[in-house]
């Protein structure tokens, strides 16, 4: 779990996960498009995400595709959030979202 927390503690890596969440199964080239980061930096971040098992890769022909893997995040949720009632937490989170929407 240390690896997952460390990997998630970086904004650029969370941005890469967001991009995979929007479109799963991207190549390195696709992931680099429109980012301010260098290709080498993206490669390094992806290696850290893969080592933490937050990204899984598969080869399709000569292309290496990257997939977001949320299983470690579920393991974290089970360990700490499972003690509370998830329904109430979700209600609070929904309430926060709808109130914040009204503000803007």
């Amino acid at each position: 779990m240390d690896a997952a927390f460390k990997a998630l503690a970086d904004k650029s890596r969370r941005q890469l996960l967001d991009r995979l969440h929007n479109k799963n199964g991207q190549t390195l080239g696709e992931l680099c498009e429109g980012l301010e980061m260098s290709r080498q930096a993206v490669t390094k971040h992806l290696d850290i995400l893969e080592a933490a098992n937050l990204v899984a890769t598969q080869w399709r022909g000569r292309e290496k595709l990257h997939f977001i893997n949320p299983v470690p995040i579920f393991d974290i949720a089970d360990r700490w959030i499972g003690k509370f009632e998830r329904g109430r937490l979700r209600a609070l989170s929904d309430l926060k979202k709808s109130l914040e929407r009204e503000d803007t």
Partner: protein, 150 residues
């Protein structure tokens, strides 16, 4: 094509994981109370059964190489909008990696923005998380055992 890949590392042998995955009394513990009905041989029919006996999903075993590789042709049966997408493909692979086993689930269908893939992708992380706890600790936390809304 719509596809996702899920990976988890479990402290158990591939044989033990294969047994848990293919045995109804284990399946009920990590698959929201549901179980699978199949002999898991190539060409055999396969289905997932709700606690009340209704069929949730059905298909056929396309490949079976215990305890390393299992491929299932997979169609949803209880949600018409998912059923009409037809058959997808689910591949499970188990690779020994030191004291743990790497379990990979690849679920795909030959269409863009598949609702089936979206629906099953809500369930797989919970199922895999529950399977991992069951094999490593002997029990499943209550949170993972709540029925998925798929």
């Amino acid at each position: 094509m719509s596809q996702f890949v899920y990976v988890t590392y479990i402290r158990a042998t591939p044989e033990k994981i294969w047994e848990a995955f293919t045995t109804p009394q284990f399946q009920r513990k990590f698959w929201f109370g549901m179980h699978q009905d199949s002999d898991f041989r190539k060409g055999s029919p396969w289905r997932i059964v709700f606690e009340d006996g209704r069929t949730a999903d059905s298909g056929e075993i396309m490949e079976s190489d215990p305890p390393h590789r299992l491929a299932i042709k997979w169609r949803n049966e209880f949600r018409p909008e998912l059923r009409e997408e037809g058959y997808g493909h689910c591949l499970m692979t188990l690779e020994e990696d030191g004291e743990t086993t790497k379990l990979t689930i690849t679920h795909s269908i030959e269409r863009e923005n598949s609702k089936l893939i979206e629906a099953v992708s809500g369930g797989w992380p919970k199922i895999l998380s529950a399977l991992k706890s069951l094999l490593e600790t002997g029990s499943v936390p209550p949170i993972t055992h709540q029925r998925a809304k798929v």
